[in-house]
């Protein structure tokens, strides 16, 4: 088997709360090659962010806990590293971009100093050199280096997100986790930021996991797509495989809920029902209660993933039967 750059196997993350065990992530596996972008798509609460935090081993503990699995990153299992070694990975090898640029910058430190801090955290270099590097990063994300000494509140939302990207990429990470990086921005800025991220990603040959609700964004940026539902990956494959040869009814539902530009629609077509409570998942397939094709078997037994084509895995009884 080809040695992939990030390989996650059977990752299980639970939160134990007073109301019982919340099964946020239940045995997900996927792998990513260098330079590839994976889109992680799912409804709110499907476990996308928990997965990303799990990769960095920053699931808030307590109540969260990584119960089992392997996260092989550049030949090492991140789950076996000591906290100190892990700190060297965070920000340096793997970094993260957050949803809301308004709150992910420290309001009392200038943006320049925040980039410098990210650099000097991992590289020993004279201050002047770090400042120079930080200015380069600012220019790279399209902000004039003159604004080095300004505070976050002096920037607009889109600009702040650029700064956040500059911080995330300052140490040339090999993996970038982007947690809904464009959700808090308006549509025109979204396009700019996505373009910028794609550009920098290619330039630095960074792999990326893009967490989003927006299938349109995924289609534009990603090479691979993973659809998450109730803590499981229900469908994963390349962009073409998932978009053109959709296997899982949930993915179908997601596509179905996007309004058609051509025809005039009075109502949207959402997936009926809500996601199951992750502290009380159904016994069988977790999507069964909402699935239009469900059978008795679906409600009794949780299906295994089945490979429809090479690299296209679907977790559904219907696909298993079709095979």
């Amino acid at each position: 088997m080809q040695d992939s750059f990030l390989d996650i196997k059977d990752l299980v993350i639970h939160y134990s709360t007073a109301d019982g065990e919340v099964e946020a992530v239940n045995g997900i596996s996927f792998s990513l090659n260098k330079g590839e972008t994976l889109g992680l798509v799912g409804e709110t609460g499907a476990g996308k962010t928990t997965t990303a935090l799990g990769i960095l081993r920053l699931v808030p503990n307590p109540p969260g806990k990584i119960l089992s699995g392997e996260i092989n990153f550049e030949g090492r299992d991140l789950l076996k590293l000591s906290e100190k070694e892990m700190r060297k990975v965070r920000g340096n090898k793997i970094s993260m971009i957050f949803q809301d640029p308004m709150t992910s910058l420290n309001p009392v430190i200038t943006v320049g100093d925040q980039i410098v801090e990210a650099i000097s955290q991992h590289y020993k270099m004279p201050a002047s050199e770090a400042v120079k590097k930080a200015c380069e990063m600012l220019e790279k994300v399209g902000i004039s280096a003159e604004r080095f000494h300004e505070y976050p509140h002096q920037f607009s939302g889109g600009m702040k997100q650029r700064v956040v990207i500059a911080i995330a990429l300052a140490c040339n990470p090999t993996l970038l986790l982007a947690d809904e990086p464009t959700t808090a921005l308006d549509v025109t800025i979204q396009a700019q930021v996505l373009e910028l991220m794609a550009e920098l990603k290619n330039e630095l040959n960074t792999s990326m996991i893009l967490i989003t609700h927006d299938l349109g964004v995924v289609a534009e940026v990603c090479d691979k797509v993973a659809i998450m539902y109730a803590g499981e990956i229900v469908e994963i494959g390349t962009l073409e495989q998932v978009y053109n040869n959709t296997g899982h009814p949930h993915t179908e539902g997601l596509f179905g809920s996007i309004p058609d530009m051509e025809s005039k629609e009075k109502r949207l077509h959402p997936i009926q029902g809500l996601m199951p409570d992750p502290s009380n998942l159904p016994k069988g397939c977790s999507f069964a209660p909402r699935c239009p094709y469900k059978t008795d078997k679906c409600e009794e037994q949780n299906p295994e993933s089945v490979e429809l084509e090479s690299g296209h895995l679907v977790k559904c009884w219907h696909c298993i039967n079709k095979k």
């Binding site: 700190r87 400042v131 080095f148 000494h149």
Partner: protein, 288 residues
């Protein structure tokens, strides 16, 4: 690429510019600087020594025979005594507040950041301190340690630790939940780095306000201790001690009591004006 294209406008320079626009704060600052000046150069500024007695000129009223503020029951020049007395008040205020602000912030930050058992242990200790009225605590400590400048500083300082600890802890609890703390963690920062570089600067405004108000109350507590005879001992011209000794003459000779009282009042007023102004100036979000 010119890294220092915009000459670095340091944070403190910014703060200063904003502070300068605030007239009340500047008035407070000027009074404080005058006081500091008096304290440093009291030897040269004071027309007489603070313990120069001359019983023949007891209770000289103000503005007579060259005594601007008059003389007290031993014929000592009140103005000179006030000038020398500023040393004690400022020393007690500055040192005790610095010590208690640092200790209190450290306790509060650690308690708030780690939570759980550590939080419980630290904050219950603070609660015990808080359960004792601070003046009473100061009196008890001063009585146990004995009088003297150092002991007054310790007594006043310990009594005000809980205030800082609580304020900082509350602030840390809100700041540590913010996303930029998580972002700092993502970029590989350790706990100490996060507390010092990211959390405490965001708690600075309330600490500074509490500290400037704290200097005022420290001076008051020190004066109260001296007034009770537990603080700095006569003949040292501590303002509270001056008040205490002069209070029996209040009927006949108002100036013996009034001027030390006014000195305390003006100092505290100035500190409060300055503290408020500083708080406004320190908040970068209020920048315009």
């Amino acid at each position: 690429m010119q890294p220092k294209a915009n000459k670095k406008k340091s944070q403190w320079k910014d703060v200063w510019l904003r502070l300068k626009r605030n007239k009340a704060a500047m008035l407070g600052l000027i009074i404080l600087l005058l006081l500091v000046f008096c304290a440093i150069f009291s030897k040269w500024l004071a027309p007489y020594g603070y313990d120069e007695q001359e019983l023949s000129r007891r209770f000289t009223p103000p503005l007579t025979n060259g005594f601007i503020l008059g003389t007290d029951q031993f014929g000592r020049d009140i103005l000179s005594r006030l000038i020398y007395g500023s040393r004690y008040s400022l020393l007690v205020g500055a040192i005790s507040v610095t010590v208690s602000a640092i200790a209190g912030s450290a306790i509060g930050a650690v308690a708030g950041f780690y939570g759980g058992k550590i939080d419980n242990v630290f904050m219950r200790f603070i609660d015990i301190l808080m359960a004792i009225p601070s003046t009473l605590l100061a009196i008890a400590i001063a009585a146990a340690l004995g009088s003297g400048l150092m002991n007054v500083i310790i007594a006043v300082g310990i009594g005000s630790i809980p205030g800082y600890a609580r304020i900082v802890r509350a602030q840390v609890l809100t700041v540590k939940e913010q996303e930029f703390i998580e972002a700092a963690r993502m970029s590989g920062s350790g706990d100490a780095h996060i507390i010092i570089k990211h959390i405490l600067p965001n708690c600075l405004a309330p600490i500074i306000v509490q500290a400037t108000l704290g200097v005022a109350s420290a001076i008051l507590t020190a004066a109260a201790l001296s007034f009770l005879g537990l603080g700095i001992q006569p003949p040292a011209p501590e303002w509270g001690a001056m008040l205490s000794q002069a209070r029996q003459y209040i009927r006949g000779y108002w100036y013996v009591v009034t001027f030390p009282g006014l000195a305390i009042m003006i100092t505290i007023f100035a500190l409060n004006l300055f503290g408020d102004g500083l708080r406004d100036a320190l908040d970068p979000r209020l920048k315009n």
